[in-house]
């Protein structure tokens, strides 16, 4: 806190959500609780503790069984359960209706409302935020609670010192910067967090909590979209998030064909997968499912080989926790060399074939010898 802030007269903003709790919207697909929910509860618990508020969680679905109990074990104090055949599969409008009704039933809106930056969370959160005319920050990588003093005179009604403000922190575009986004003027202050980033609590089977059933009152308009089929894809090849080794390609590959080389290199490793930077996904060189980074997947393989990837912040947030990062890039000043463990300055089309050649030699040398494979 700076001196200036202490000396300034503090306008009364105590009317801003003095008791509102932290609410996490759980996510389940066909009865399977999604990991991001536990992560949200972990993050939400910290925020709630900091403000001495309760952590609430809402879960919607059908035949949810012991899921509400599980949510308590992972940190929730109160769980709201909407269990109804109409909620069996996620649909925007029915889920939106139940949650909007729930939030409107509170005497005071939640202080903070969190969802996952999944296809579901990103579909649902903006609807709720727009309904309540409240702020929503997408794809956060850090959350915190802290004070904020607003001094800008553009809108005098906003001036004041807000003691408990949600800090929604996310990488800012095209920059090696993180932006802290906040909006204490309206509650709930909403954010989505990217899967794989927040740390879940250890399940505590002795934790006590309250489970409350909430009504499901859909309106005719809510039935406008019908889900005909939900297909969980049996993993085609190895999932990015589960691979031990990921070989990723970027714009430096020059064209779609460059990925043939990436696939060939990936095939040299056990339990490997092919990743990509967003730019090449945008260009249609490789499907979205391969994208690593801010708007793609967060991965933590044992080995990450980045080929022709400059290392923009969006990519970096998705892979920087890999055990070993090897970067290949023509440009010695590429940002990726700032956080890779090993950097090779050179043309991918010279380096990768050479790598493949040397790997093949190594393999030949190992033939008949007990393999030194450490995949776990």
């Amino acid at each position: 806190m700076t001196e200036q802030q202490q000396d300034a007269p503090q306008p009364d903003v105590s009317q801003f959500c003095p008791k509102g709790d932290v609410l996490v919207i759980a996510e389940q697909i066909l009865g399977e609780l999604q990991p991001v929910t536990m992560e949200l509860l972990g993050a939400g618990r910290l925020l709630a503790n900091k403000m001495e508020r309760r952590l609430k969680c809402a879960v919607l679905g059908y035949k949810l069984g012991d899921m509400p109990q599980k949510l308590i074990e992972y940190g929730a104090d109160v769980v709201f359960v909407a269990d109804d055949p109409e909620l069996h599969m996620y649909r925007t409008l029915p889920y939106r209706r139940v949650l909007v009704d729930l939030l409107e039933s509170f005497d005071e809106p939640p202080h903070t409302c969190l969802l996952g930056s999944t296809t579901t969370g990103r579909d649902l959160a903006p609807r709720i935020a727009a309904h309540f005319d409240t702020g929503l920050t997408a794809d956060c990588t850090e959350l915190d609670i802290g004070p904020y003093e607003h001094k800008s005179k553009v809108d005098p009604s906003k001036i004041g010192l807000y003691p408990n403000c949600l800090y929604a922190i996310r990488p800012s575009f095209g920059e090696s910067l993180k932006a802290r986004i906040l909006g204490p003027w309206k509650n709930p202050q909403m954010a989505t967090t990217r899967p794989g980033v927040m740390i879940p609590l250890k399940a505590d089977p002795n934790k006590q909590g309250e489970i409350k059933k909430i009504p499901v009152k859909l309106q005719p308009d809510d039935y406008r979209l019908i889900v005909e089929e939900t297909i969980r894809e049996a993993s085609k090849g190895i999932k990015l998030t589960e691979a031990d080794v990921i070989v990723s390609g970027g714009y430096g590959l020059g064209s779609k064909d460059g990925f043939d080389l990436i696939r060939e290199l990936a095939a040299c490793f056990e339990n490997s997968a092919v990743g990509a930077s967003r730019k090449v996904v945008d260009l249609g060189w490789i499907p979205y499912q391969h994208q690593v980074g801010q708007t793609g997947k967060t991965v933590r393989p044992k080995l990450y080989i980045a080929c022709g990837i400059s290392g923009a912040i969006q990519h970096r947030v998705g892979m920087s926790k890999s055990d070993t990062i090897i970067a290949i890039n023509k440009d010695p000043d590429a940002p990726i060399f700032k956080f890779a463990h090993h950097g090779i300055v050179g043309d991918c089309f010279h380096i990768i074939p050479e790598m493949i050649r040397q790997f093949t030699e190594l393999k030949k040398a190992e033939r008949g010898v007990e393999a030194v494979v450490s995949t776990h």
Binding site: I29, D123, R127, K178, V227, I231, V281, V345, H350
Partner: protein
Amino acid sequence: MAYNIFVLVKQVPDQGSKAGLNPDGTIDRARAKRMLNPFDRYALQAALHMKKAYGGSVTAISMGPPPAVEILLEALEHGVDRGFLLSDRRLAASDTLATAYALYKTVTYVGKFDIIFCGLQTTDGDTAQVGPQLAERLGLPQISYCEDFSIQNGKVHARRIIEGGVQKVLTEMPVLVTVANSYHPLEYKSFRGAWRVQQLQRKQDELKQYIQTVDLDIVGADPERCGLKGSPTIVAATEKVGDIGGNCTMHEGSAPETLVRECLTSTKIDGFLVTAKS
């Protein structure tokens, strides 16, 4: 059936180009090269596909400073029938909620529609929020992460991505669709389209029949709900991301063979290799 097809497009700074990059890595929007938001190319393709397959006309709608008219011209070259640009200084610093409100007013001003296509997200905001927020304002059902669709008996059948799978959905129109980047990439513009736009640009009066620039007053938007004032969120602070590793062992200046050998000897990479027996 002639469908009224709307597509929302945005002009964004080209992050791939070094022009307009400040020394500290931030983007100087005034100097940066501008481009059509890459995600919107899929939305544009979806709109044009719908027109071609089922009939109707395509209206492209954008919000941004005056140069954004460039992407509407580009859309026209691809076969879009007309464009609207909402441009107003009072829109500066709009967050997603304020943007969705301004677009809602613009869409309502432009007229009746059966379907609105949006890109999944923009490359300068990365929020994926404006589409669903606009759908909420318009009270529409939405199909987000759509990667394929068809129209049968006046209903939209679509396949959308969900976590670890896909979902097949069916809905009536009007509907808002955000198009995933696994949809078909935008086809090249035709020579005829490009030529037509070139001709139009010579006759500004005629061009105005195809591309209209409107402001908040024209579309009837409340300026209090736009720009900084209408935005519930602000960027309060930015901080540099500290370097994580900072201990990169560099291999450079030699022949590929040496570089790779150096790197491999120091990383024990061979532990992960497919073994000879497999």
